[in-house]
Symmetry: C2
Subunit: 294 residues, 2 copies
């Protein structure tokens, strides 16, 4: 299997599903809808909906009930970037080489486009009950809401902001990793599993795999910030050191950090192998996410 | 019936329900939870959850399935105020005599507390499926998501912002009234009705009553901005004229505007009277909302 071709094919499939769920740019609220759609279509590898879809397929899911959830998760991921980029937050003018939402539409519309996307995510999810009004759909929605909120992504974001310019312990770093990146990856895989009717035991395995991926991904991020170059990474390196930020690497050392990435990566792949179902692409995807150079 | 006493009793009941649904101020994310709870508990007459509960009772509802929705709606109303008050929006330091959220916790936490509340509203609503996993609960969630988003409150907010410092027609003003204030009032009454199992015909009547209340409330707001005093109103008057803002009154004239408030108010009360069920308090509440001096 050529991973790059396979990946590109799936990204295109996912993007056509997402486009189908975007609101029409019309009416008195046209500007905010344009800003929302601009944000969602500004690129990205669609990792979260892809993990959701692959996990759904792993457990034998074949229907379209997963689609509104794939779109909703990508909208939530997008809104978090739009609000992160705001002047009162990271104040970024560019992301992936494109102007950020507030840089194009202004700060007011940046706030409202983020709010609009977060709300619209739940509007899209609520439409899933028209496809299937079941306990599994309700559980999927509970997972999404929890992992995106104060006991998930927002919680991690807050802990990260409060850790700036001071030294914090490894428990805080692990909390931030688990919540800020891990939570949406967990929700992606858990929702895929629950919608396909996975057992409780398999749900636990999936959650562990997703947590390992999210945490390993973040440790690798810290490693690359220290060892890579701006040219390879496509963003400034050494920013953590410059900001006097405690990181996993500054606390545990480079060698131990590399070992931990390998340990978490292997554990995730071993657990995946213990599950039934065709998983070749998912396995490659996990390897690509963790063992990467940029 | 002494309306003031009755109103105070219900506000206290509603607030105790809301407090029971607020997240605990603990963990690494403690600051944002404090900011969220501060915002929700900063006062207000709890009109939206009250209208929801009264409509639920009107159609014979007696359970607690309405409670997570009452809380969620108040959280959504609150987040919209928190984000409206931000420096990039209205830049208000005080609301109802208390410091606004960003004035106490800073702009970053103001954005995140708003996001946290909007997300937590849907977390609370998703917990309603544990009480009752039914099509009516799914419909209630669909109503909430739609009326709060770009086809409801956020849409009205965007149209309002884009109408500043230019003259707009009466259709735009009516859209803003219907969406910015009307949408959450509609969602309050529609959710109360659907959770109690109201018929489609009665749902249509409820929507019309709620729209009339919302629009009449906003016209009355425009009237008071022109005719009242800062002392009575507790906020600066004449702000619309100062901001060269087109209002319902500037477009249709004071006398016609007063007639329209009366017409909408009577129509809402007539429609209410055509519904079965005990409605004395709801009727008084509607009168109070529209025929008011502040």
């Amino acid at each position: 299997m050529d991973l790059k071709t396979e990946l590109q094919k799936r990204i295109e499939e996912i993007e056509s599903v997402i486009v189908g769920y975007l609101p029409e740019e019309a009416g008195y609220q046209k500007t905010v809808i344009e800003a929302m759609n601009y944000s969602v279509l500004a690129g990205g590898k669609r990792i979260r909906p892809m993990l959701m879809q692959e996990t759904y397929r792993l457990f034998g899911g074949t229907g379209n009930i997963v689609e509104p959830f794939m779109c909703a998760l990508e909208m939530i991921h997008t809104y978090s970037l739009v609000h992160d980029d705001l002047p009162a937050m990271d104040n970024d003018e560019y992301r992936r080489g494109k102007k950020t939402t507030h840089a194009v539409y202004g700060e007011t519309m940046g706030i409202l486009a983020g709010d609009g996307l977060l709300n619209y995510a739940f509007e899209v999810v609520s439409s899933a009950f028209d496809i299937e009004c079941s306990e599994n759909v309700a559980k999927a929605m509970q997972i999404l809401a929890k992992k995106a909120g104060i006991y998930g992504m927002i919680g991690g974001q807050v802990a990260d902001i409060e850790s700036e310019n001071k030294s914090v312990g490894i428990e805080t770093i692990e909390f931030i990793h688990k919540m800020k990146t891990g939570a949406l990856i967990e929700s992606a895989m858990l929702i895929g599993a629950v919608l396909a009717g996975a057992t409780d035991e398999d749900m636990q395995k999936i959650e562990q795999i997703a947590t390992d991926i999210g945490v390993a991904f973040q440790i690798q991020d810290d490693i690359l910030d220290l060892t890579s170059t701006t040219e390879v990474l496509g963003k400034p390196v050494g920013s953590d050191e410059k900001n006097h930020k405690s990181t996993y690497v500054s606390l545990k050392g480079l060698e131990q950090s590399k070992k931990d990435v390998e340990y978490l990566s292997n554990r995730a792949l071993d657990t995946l192998a213990s599950l039934p179902g065709e998983n070749a692409f998912l396995e490659e995807l996990i390897r690509m996410l963790i063992v990467r150079e940029k």
